[in-house]
Symmetry: C2
Subunit: 258 residues, 2 copies
């Protein structure tokens, strides 16, 4: 299973907000054995979102978008995703009731001026036809899960606390079932500081082991370097065994060299 | 002028490393008046890099890549960018001398075992034909600036301290000249906490002002919200004037509403 993340919002592409959402989601996906291949961030322009959705869905099985579900003019994610998939939006009555109750609660608590469902509030109840709505335990805007042929598309809010809650409660149980493996990551320190030498040893180990090995250079002041091993397996044990085998082979080659 | 950033590395798409490089670069680009439209991160797979370079160059004038310039097997950025542009790599003798001197210095300081130019070290001297090499004041791998027709492509290292030095020393002077405007950002706090109400007022102001206005909701506990104004202009003064005019109009509408 391959995945991609599309984060939507001018605040990200213009360098105002650091995209911690994509980092959060991708680390979870890796942990449950899914190979995340792309993280893309786009401006709130419908055309840019549409081409990005198509570009990514051509290349992966799972697409998770964040941002652009709220009430303002630049919240156009569902409209754009629907267009990219050739689908329409519909007014979800359950979402509408949820939004109505959400604002009524705020009004009764004296936090806003009016409980009336204006057009901006109502807008958040338009979801993509054929979707499973994803409930928001923190804010007003619901998300969307859509299975389109073999593709799985999730649209989540952009505010980190809303996104995280929806991801953990609603998305994770689904993607965990889609994946038939897990991953394991292990970092070790080895007695070599030169990537141009270590790289050749890593090449040799990776040719005979199903493990991704990455050197993490930090300069030449110490005679050491960290090395990260990533392996996938049907179980934690299988992944761990792959890493241990690759690690002992790499340590053997380093000893030979030193 | 529109731009895009492509960050290359499995550590980013798999959620191990947070991509602060793209955030750093995009905030600089915005400041010098360039509209950054995309930030994309890809795995170290040549095919993925090639299609991403083409996707982005179809849509922007300036492309800045980070990562994948080092000596290890997964450092394939220049090979992939060259393929995307239909160009070849060549051995840059000046870069080669620089790399040789770099490792000799480390060897003489007793920090590495050998000064010999092995294949991994030599690899970093292969640059893209027709490029202006970008010197690295921190590490061994040089970057690349390529003008291909009307497109400007920069390839920078992934290690943040190397990338930042190269961006500030070599890239910024070039992109500043490409841009004929600057941008200004101002955040103010207004007496309204409800995006579904404020959003309608912002819509009205944006229709008559050349300013991008973004509400920044933080929940409903306070009766206030921050609002961010972004404007471009030939000068700081022009951008500031645009913002002041939009701000006073928005404050007038909020007063009317409250």
């Amino acid at each position: 299973m391959k995945s991609a993340i599309l984060s939507i919002g001018r605040e990200i592409v213009s360098g105002i907000t650091l995209d911690t959402n994509s980092h959060f989601i991708s680390s979870y996906l890796t942990r449950v054995g899914i190979l995340n291949r792309f993280i893309q961030s786009v401006d709130d322009r419908k055309g840019d979102i549409v081409v990005s959705v198509r570009f990514l869905l051509d290349r992966v099985d799972i697409l998770i978008t964040t941002g652009g579900l709220g009430p303002t003019f630049d919240d156009i994610t569902l409209e754009a995703v629907a267009e990219a998939l050739g689908k329409k939006l519909y007014l979800d009555t359950e979402a509408l009731e949820f939004i109505q109750a959400f604002y009524e609660r705020l009004y009764k608590a004296g936090k806003i001026d009016s409980p009336i469902l204006n057009d901006k509030r109502k807008k958040m109840a338009y979801l993509i036809e054929g979707c499973k709505p994803l409930k928001n335990s923190v804010g007003a805007a619901w998300g969307v899960y859509l299975k389109d042929g073999e593709k799985h598309i999730f649209c989540l809010p952009g505010l980190p606390k809303e996104m995280r809650a929806m991801f953990e409660d609603e998305v994770l149980p689904i993607v965990e079932k889609l994946s038939d493996r897990v991953s394991l990551i292990k970092e070790v320190t080895v007695d070599l500081n030169d990537e141009s030498v270590l790289g050749r040893l890593i090449d040799r180990v990776m040719k005979s082991h199903d493990v991704y090995i990455k050197s993490l250079p930090e300069g030449f002041d110490k005679r050491q370097m960290n090395v990260r091993f990533t392996a996938f397996g049907k179980s934690n044990e299988e992944a761990e065994q792959k890493i241990e085998s690759a690690l002992s082979e790499l340590l053997r080659l380093i000893n030979q060299h030193n």
